[in-house]
Amino acid sequence: MNDPSVTILTTVARCRVRMQLVAAARRAGITIPLAIVAVELFAGTSAVAPGPLIAIAGGALALAIAALPSILRVPSIRTSAAEIDARLRLQDRTVTAVQLLDDADPMARLVVRDAATRLSMVSPGRVFPFEAPVHFRSAVAGALGATVLFVVMNAVRDQPVAPPDGSGGIRSAGAAQSGRMGKPPSTAQVGEGAAPSAVAAQPLASSQTPAAREDLPIGHESAKNDPSGQTLARSESATRTIDAAPAAAARDVGAAAGARDSARGATGFAARTAAAAGGVSGTIDANPADGMRGTARYAAPASAAYRDQYRIASDRARSAVAQERLPARLRTYVKRYFVAIHP
């Protein structure tokens, strides 16, 4: 038979760890539902989209809050022994034995031996099972209610909104998301043509096929609003036709393209390019992200390699635009594209 003192101390120590674990789990039963509600509340009110990182951080914080008291307030051996006695109805055997572990008196040894006999069969998991906290059901119900409310509110917000004139315009989910993030919802309809995506946002010369070129959004060729364009235009000997008539329509289409791009999960960088290409009156000096106020502000890379590549590509594009016969709107498109991706 093992030393009774060792048996008692080992069992009490194991039970103490288990007590802390159970206590932390009980607290987590409250803190995790609260964290769910908090994350949903944050997602509903904040401009930042609730990514998985926020959810993970919320869960980790809830677990930390649940575990912190158990870490900070470790119960003493005597306290743990008293708790074991109460759970197993050992009539104070353990707490008395813990006190008498070093006592050589025969009666004390009998107490220790008696307690060790009782504790040798004890399983901490059975003594301290995981139990739901007192208000666990209320907490779970609250979290479920908040989740349902969150989902319903999102669904309502994402529903298409018919314009007052009854034209049946469709607002994309991305536009709705942008609206939730603080950007005023665009009244533009989704037009045809694709704005460059983040992947496509490479500083290359125009390589679209003629068919694709026809699908491109019409740029707003405004030398006043585009100093680089002015520079480009001044450097070119070829004459350019400034077509002011379709400018407004082109602006709308371009904005819609940017919004749609945003709906596809494009970064602000791609949106910026689309906005620039679509006739938004951006200048080189102006902050291109102004058009995406409220979203994450992504800037074009500013590394030396990027700048070199940008310079090579923009030179090629410039020479291509100068040498080839291109419609004016495509010239403007290419020009604005390079404005947008300017390092």
Binding site: A82, Q91, D92, R93, M107, V111
Partner: protein, 331 residues
């Protein structure tokens, strides 16, 4: 045989003796198992008990049966107003010696017994009641300047009738405090009454067998004090006793309202000793909180002095003690 085995054997013998004594008493005294337990514990703790109850409930029979079952020297003192202290303690009497001389020889009184039954002690005068004081506390008697030690074991079991107060001298608080327990004898139930009738009105008289001899009893008396008690349990006892005082912060509103004086440290001693005895009876070598709960009422109820409001509103000390126990989670 190791000392551990010795102690274990003694504890086993104690439990067997207790059970056999209880069984023998049960052959004569019907029912009231808890009362018998408390009386036996009081005896093994070498305490004195005040047994209170209406006439005819078997108080005297209970105590007499205990002495018969344990083969102890038993003395009965029927207390009356004209009972003198010398009638209890004994006195010097003038006797003729074989040599023709005359000398004073101490004639022992009934107090020199193992179990003394002071029947209706509240009918004795305070002077006679005081004669019991030294014997109960010091376990010795001093007569004419000579101290005579009392026998071991020694316990005084006094009875009193709570309903007849005419011509009585209520025990003073100092003397009440010397009683280890105050035991109330309730009226038996119908089944117990039927059993009592069957045993006492037939032609067969039940006789008590000797369950244990005097030497065995003496060997067991020291064992109780070896039982261990944890600090937590000790603190429970002390807080319990302290909570009976109306002038402490942790006193309950009922205590502040109805109690004039709380229990003394002697009450805590009684609780712990009795709890140790009950632990042995229960087969343990340590005191548990439930042992304390078991003995708190008989150990405390005669040590609480109620104030005017308590007496006017017929509050009992027992109810106060039970409230204190309930407040400490041991109801």
């Amino acid at each position: 045989m190791t000392s551990i085995d010795t102690v274990q054997a003694q504890a086993t013998a104690f439990r067997a003796t207790f059970d056999s004594l209880k069984a023998e008493i049960g052959r004569v005294f019907v029912g009231h198992s808890a009362l018998v337990d408390h009386l036996l514990v009081c005896f093994f703790c070498q305490g004195h008990a005040l047994v209170e109850g209406p006439p005819g409930l078997g108080k005297t029979l209970l105590i007499k049966t205990l002495s018969d079952a344990a083969d102890l020297r038993f003395a009965r003192v029927q207390c009356t107003p004209d009972l003198m202290p010398a009638d209890v303690t004994g006195t010097n009497i003038l006797v003729d010696t074989p040599g023709g001389q005359r000398e004073f020889v101490f004639q022992r009184g009934p107090i020199f017994a193992n179990i003394v039954l002071a029947d209706e002690i509240n009918r004795a005068t305070p002077r006679t009641q005081a004669a019991f004081l030294e014997a109960m506390q010091e376990r010795r008697v001093t007569v004419f300047g000579v101290t005579h030690p009392l026998d071991v074991p020694f316990s005084v079991f006094a009875t009193q009738n709570p309903i007849e107060m005419e011509g009585t001298y209520p025990l003073p608080e100092a003397q009440l405090d010397r009683f280890f327990f105050k035991l109330n004898v309730p009226v038996p139930g119908v089944a117990d009454m039927a059993e009592i009738m069957a045993r006492t009105t037939g032609d067969q008289q039940t006789r008590v067998n000797r369950a244990v001899d005097l030497d065995t009893v003496r060997s067991m008396l020291g064992l109780i004090r070896q039982v261990r008690i944890a600090d937590e349990t000790m603190r429970l006892v002390l807080m319990l006793v302290r909570a009976t005082h109306p002038d402490v912060d942790e006193a309950l509103p009922e205590v502040k309202q109805y109690v004039r004086y709380g229990a003394s440290p002697r009450a805590a001693q009684a609780i712990i000793l009795a709890a140790k005895a009950f632990a042995l009876v229960d087969g343990r070598y340590h005191v548990a909180a439930e042992d304390v709960r078991r003995v708190a009422v008989p150990a405390l109820n005669h040590r609480l002095i109620l104030n005017f409001h308590g007496e006017m509103e017929r509050i009992t000390a027992t109810s106060i003690v039970e409230r204190v126990l309930a407040a400490r989670g041991h109801a």
